[in-house]
Amino acid sequence: MILMGNDIEYLVGGEVEKFSPLVPYSDLVCDFLSDLSSEIFKDERCKAFPDIISVAFFARQGNIRRLKKSFLDDKFRLGKGLAFHITPSNIPVQFIFSYFFGLLAGNANVVRVPSKNFPQINLLCDITNKILSRSAYRELYNMTAFVRYDRASDWTKFFSAKCQVRLIWGGDATIESIRKIPIPPRSTELVFADRYSLALFDEAALENLNERDIVKVAQNFYNDTYLADQNACSSPQLILWRKSATAKGRKIFWEAVEKLAGERYDFPPIKATGKYTDFCKNAIKFPKTGTLTKNNNVLYRADISELFEGLEDLRGKFGLFYEHDVDSLEELKDFVNEKYQTLTYFGFSPLELAEIVVNNRWRGIDRIIPVGKALDVGVIWDGYDLIGQMSRIVYHE
C-alpha cells in the first residue's frame, strides 16, 4: 500500500476512542504478553529472526513477573491514558518493545511503525493481531493501534493533540522536528536522543578464559556492535582496556572478533568505503587519535594515547573502534557528560562501576551492563523508569 497525503494504514487495531487506563502490570496485560510470547516461540516463521526471538524472551511470563515484582510498591497507580509512540525507522522490532512498555504502564497506545517493509514488522503485526482477536483481549484490542502514515501528513499532529505521553525514539533530528508539534498542557514526553557509549574490558580476565569462552565474549561484543552496524546509541565506540602485564588479552580478543565478523557480518562495498571515509574524516577532525590498525576492511582500530574533550563526537560505524588504556574508569572524570549512555563491561563488578559514576557525581552513563547486552531494551532505559514515567500516582501512604 502506498500512502499518500493523509492516508493512514492500521496494521493492528483501529481507532482508539473510548478506553479506561489499567493499573501497571495488570493481569490482563501480563497474560497477553505471555500468550504473545508463546505464539512467537511456536511460529516457525520467527525462527530466522533473532530480534523477534528477543521480543518473545522479553514477553515471557517469568520475565514479566520478575519485572512486576521489582516495580510494585505500596502506591496506587494507573496508566496516564493514551501513549503515542514514534519509533525509530532502522530497528525493525523497537516499535513492539515501546508498545509493551506503554501497555505495562497501563496505557492505550498508538504506535507509528517504521515505513520500511521489514519482514519482522509484518510477522509481529500478524501475531499480535492473532492474539488480540481473542475475546479475552477485546479490551486491549480497543486500546491498540499500530499505524503507518506519511511523515508529511497531519497524523502526527492529530495523535499528539490527543496523547497524555509522547515517546520519541530516533535521535536528535527526529526529536527536534516532532517537538515543533504541541502536546496538551498536562502531557509529558519521553525522548531518546543521540547518545555515546563505551566498553570497559579487563585484559587479565580475558587471558584467563579458554578458547571457547573467548569466542563467546567476541560473539557478545559482535552482537553489541556489528549487529546494528555499530550505529545504535548503546553500541560502544570507545574500548577502554585495563592493561595486563602481557597485554595479550586484547590481541586474542580482537582476533576472535575479526574472525567472527569476517564470517558473519553483512559487509557490502559501500560499508568498506564508508568506514574508511569515517576513519579519515576523524583523522582530520581529531588529529590526536592514533594510527589505523587493520588486517583487512572488516575491523578497524585506532589507539588514543590521550583522551580529549569532545570525545563523544569521535564515532565509527561498521566496525571502527577507538581504544584507550586506563587503570580505572575514574580516569574519564574530565570527559563524561550527559551524552554518555551505556557502559558495557567484561571482567568488572557492575556495582564497583556504578559507585564510581555516583561517587564522582557524573552527568552521564545511565546504563552499566555486561558485554552482549548493549542492544537489549528494558523497562529501565536511557536513565528513565519507563513504567513509572508513563503512569500516574493516585494515592500513597
Partner: protein, 361 residues
C-alpha cells in the same frame, strides 16, 4: 617544489605504454603527496594516521587514496586562501552536501590545457562550433562553478562559436537550434550536454514537436552518467539509435569524470571504451581489503591524477564501481588502460536507532 608538467605536453597523451607511463606518473604523484602534506594540514593528519611512509611507495598504486566524500565535509586547500582563483562544486541534488574544490590559477590552467589536449585526440585540433544542450544560466555564477558549468566553459574556450540550445527555463530554443543546424550542417561540430538533459530536453522535445535535424558530421558529447536513463530503460544503444534517427548523428563521445579531478576526463573511443591518458590512472580495488584487482575484475575505482596542485585530490577513492577492460591494446590504437563504469556502489540499509544517520547516508 613541484616540477611543472611542461615536458609532458610534448608527448601525445595516449602514446605511452604502461611502463614508461608508470615512471612518469609515480614521480609526479610522489611529489604531489609531499607537496600536499606540507601545504594542507588536514591532509598531513590523514597521512600520519594511516601510517604513510613514502619509502614504502614502489608504484603509483601505492600512493595512499583519500576518500572522495571528504571534499563534502571539509574545505581542503593546499594553498593560501588568498590564492583561490575559483571554487568548483559538484552538481548535487537539493539537500545533498556538495563537493567544494578550490583552484588556484595554475591548477585551473592545467585542467583546461589537459582537457583540451585529451579532447583533440578525439575531435581533431581544429576549433569547432559548439551547440550546448543547456541554458546560458549554467555558466552565470562565475564564482561558484558547478561541474556542468565548468565543462561548458572549458569547452567554449576552444569552440569557434558557442550556441545555447535551451532557454533559462530549460525549454528548447528552436531559433538557436535552427540557426546552428543551418549554418553547420555538413560540417564537423560539437554538441555537448549532460546525458539526461540531452535526452529529456532535446530528444524528447524534438520528438514531441515532430522535428528532425540533420547533423551527420556532429559529435554528440555527453557526460554525467547513465543512472537516470537506465532507470527509464534507455540503454546506450537505444540512446544512440534514437539520436541517429532524429538528428542524423553518427559520432558519439561519452565521457566519465568528476569535479574532484577536472581536466582528466575519460573519453569514449569508437570502440565504446573509456580511455585513461598519461595524466591519470585508474586502479580497481577489492572492498574486502582494498587490494588491487586484476584487469577484467570489477571493484571500487581509485583515480589518480597528475593535475591537482591547489587541493589534495591527486589520489581518490571513489564510490563508483568499474572494471578495467585492457591496457595498451585497444583496437583504436590509444595506449593506456580502457575501462567500463558499472555505476555507483549500492547503498546499504543502515541499522541502528538514530534516524539521522540513515538520511545522511
Amino acid at each position: 617544489m613541484l616540477e611543472d608538467l611542461k615536458s609532458w605536453f610534448s608527448i601525445n597523451p595516449y602514446s605511452l605504454k604502461a611502463k614508461e607511463k608508470e615512471e612518469l606518473l609515480k614521480a609526479r604523484l610522489l611529489s604531489l603527496t609531499e607537496h600536499h602534506r606540507k601545504k594542507c594540514s588536514e591532509y598531513a593528519n590523514f597521512l600520519r594516521l594511516i601510517d604513510f611512509d613514502n619509502k614504502k611507495i614502489s608504484t603509483a598504486a601505492d600512493i595512499p587514496f583519500f576518500p572522495v566524500r571528504l571534499f563534502k565535509e571539509y574545505e581542503l586547500l593546499s594553498m593560501d586562501r588568498s590564492e583561490v582563483f575559483k571554487v568548483m562544486t559538484s552538481s548535487g541534488t537539493t539537500g545533498q552536501k556538495v563537493s567544494k574544490i578550490f583552484l588556484d590559477k595554475a591548477t585551473a590552467m592545467l585542467q583546461q590545457q589537459v582537457m583540451l589536449r585529451l579532447l583533440s585526440s578525439f575531435l581533431g585540433s581544429k576549433r569547432l562550433p559548439m551547440l550546448v544542450i543547456d541554458s546560458p544560466q549554467v555558466i552565470k555564477d562565475r564564482k561558484l562553478f558547478s561541474a556542468r558549468g565548468a565543462t561548458v566553459i572549458g569547452l567554449s574556450f576552444t569552440a569557434r562559436e558557442t550556441i545555447y540550445a535551451l532557454n533559462d527555463d530549460m525549454s528548447l530554443n528552436m531559433d538557436n537550434v535552427n540557426y546552428f543546424c543551418e549554418k553547420y550542417t555538413g560540417q564537423r561540430s560539437l554538441i555537448f550536454g549532460f546525458t539526461f538533459i540531452v535526452w529529456q530536453h532535446l530528444y524528447k522535445e524534438l520528438l514531441k514537436r515532430n522535428i528532425k535535424l540533420n547533423l551527420p558530421e556532429a559529435f554528440l558529447m555527453t557526460g554525467g552518467g547513465w543512472k537516470k536513463l537506465t532507470s527509464e530503460s534507455v540503454t546506450r544503444q537505444v540512446f544512440k539509435s534514437k539520436f541517429n534517427e532524429t538528428c542524423g548523428i553518427r559520432h558519439f563521445l561519452d565521457h566519465y569524470g568528476m569535479v574532484e579531478q577536472t581536466g582528466c576526463s575519460y573519453f569514449e573511443c569508437g570502440h565504446g571504451h573509456l580511455h585513461v591518458s598519461i595524466y591519470s590512472d585508474m586502479f580497481i580495488r577489492d572492498y574486502k581489503n582494498f587490494s588491487l584487482k586484476k584487469n577484467g575484475e570489477a571493484g571500487i575505482i581509485q583515480l589518480v591524477s597528475a593535475l591537482p596542485q591547489s587541493y589534495p585530490g591527486h589520489s581518490l577513492l571513489t564510490e563508483d564501481e568499474g572494471i578495467i577492460l585492457g591496457e595498451d591494446d585497444c583496437p583504436c590504437g590509444r595506449k593506456g588502460k580502457y575501462f567500463e563504469i558499472l555505476g555507483r556502489l549500492k547503498s546499504a540499509e543502515l541499522r541502528g536507532c538514530s534516524d539521522t544517520y540513515a538520511t545522511k547516508f
